[in-house]
């Protein structure tokens, strides 16, 4: 193995719960092995031991891929690493990097931490890295949103950039090949959605959109196509999609559907409320016995 020929990867952890690190370690085993065979992970605070963060900051070599997990603040009293703020450390690392990838919703948009009312200086990386540095990058910053991000999305992004040098991004800087479809696509409960059959948390039957707060029809994500552990997803096991890949995540009361006089406030993306309600009224007229029974007694 010639590590000098492999692109280098630095994983910087800012204000984070480590959820995305856990996610990476849960990747398909053969894919993770391919990652370690193809890239040189020179720094991760929990996984590597040869170099310290100071070593990375003082080295002359460029970093090929800088991955950031967690939100950023310049407030050292709130959070610091080696007596420096995550804001300063991020900017120092970014000035040495060719590609910058936000891993997870906190690094992309501030996530849960941006809701913290005692510190209003918490942001995603795009709002934290200075403009000159951004302009010198070989590629726009890439946001891999999700709480956590799916491990395959991290690997697919790295391999695509390694092999082709660029990716198409949407207006929120997310790779289109991973975020152009909705969590709704591939959901095994779609037939219940079509016929407006409500479901309950944790059960096999029913759609979770009507009462349980499911955001599948308005959330850009491929988590019902690229499955967790290669076998499942939240909605498949009866947990509503909580819209963790969207910039308004986390929202309040995520496990209930906001309704106005019994009518869902939000309807599937790109569909007018009038069109949605027309279809709903017709679908609800028919009671499909098969869909109103338990799958297993």
């Amino acid at each position: 193995m010639n590590s000098k020929q492999k692109p280098t990867v630095v994983w910087f952890q800012a204000i984070t719960c480590n959820g995305n690190t856990h996610s990476l370690l849960s990747a398909n085993a053969s894919r993770l092995e391919l990652f370690f065979d193809s890239f040189n992970l020179i720094y991760h605070p929990s996984l590597t031991i040869e170099k310290t963060l100071d070593d990375i900051l003082t080295q002359n070599e460029k970093i090929d891929f800088l991955l950031i997990e967690g939100a950023i603040t310049s407030n050292e009293k709130f959070f610091s690493i080696s007596n420096d703020s995550t804001f300063n450390l991020l900017n120092k690392l970014s000035s040495k990097s060719k590609y910058i990838i936000a891993v997870g919703s906190c690094a992309s948009n501030g996530g849960m931490h941006a809701k913290f009312t005692q510190n209003d200086d918490i942001y995603g990386i795009s709002d934290s890295i200075n403009e000159q540095t951004i302009n010198k990058l070989e590629h726009s910053i890439i946001n891999l949103t999700g709480c956590p991000v799916h491990p395959e999305w991290i690997l697919q992004t790295l391999f695509t950039l390694k092999n082709y040098g660029k990716m198409q991004l949407d207006e929120q800087k997310r790779p289109k090949e991973l975020y152009s479809t909705l969590a709704h696509h591939g959901c095994t409960r779609n037939e219940y959605f079509e016929w407006k059959v409500e479901g309950a948390f944790g059960e096999k039957e029913g759609c979770l959109f009507y009462d349980q707060g499911c955001r599948g029809p308005m959330t850009h994500s491929s988590c019902n196509k690229i499955l967790w552990n290669d076998i499942s997803s939240k909605t498949r096991v009866g947990m509503p999609c909580i819209g963790c890949t969207e910039s308004d995540f986390p929202r309040e009361n995520m496990l209930e559907t906001k309704k106005n006089i019994g009518i869902p406030q939000d309807v599937p993306i790109g569909i007018s409320k009038r069109a949605y309600l027309s279809i709903t009224g017709i679908a609800k007229t028919f009671k499909i016995d098969r869909l109103n029974k338990k799958l297993m007694d």
């Binding site: 106005n260 006089i261 019994g262 009518i263 406030q265 009038r274 027309s278 009224g281 017709i282």
Partner: protein, 161 residues
Amino acid sequence: MKMSVGNMYNYFSSKEELAKFAIKYSTNILAIELREVNNMNISSKEKIYVFVRKYLENVQKSPEIIEYFLRVYLSNREVFKQGCEGFLCVGEFVTEVMILLDEGAQKKEFREQEFFPAFGMLMGCLGGFAFLSGENVLDKDLLAYSDAVADNIYRALKYEQ
């Protein structure tokens, strides 16, 4: 209609088909009017007042349309059980009622409640007045009651602090 009874069958395969078409026709008149009201840039309270007036004008101008809905559609459900069940033939009007209620609740002009009690109150109030008008028992001109009916509907829906 200046048309023989038999000639009807050139246009409708059965009496049931004619009945379904008639109910779609009559409710779509109301649906189109309510959609126009929903698209107005006025408060939800004002929308109720405008729509109630339009509705009562219809009752006065074309009583047969509303009478058909009240006396045929609601009283002869067996005629409509195939292909006209539920909201199938009145869907466009129900959708517009949903839009009216949803927008009012979103703007906090209307209080939160389940859909069917709100829908039932609105329709009951409007249907009841068409019935009273049809029976000729009202003291005053029908439109003289418009604001009072609208006020009752609004009070039943309005947001409470």
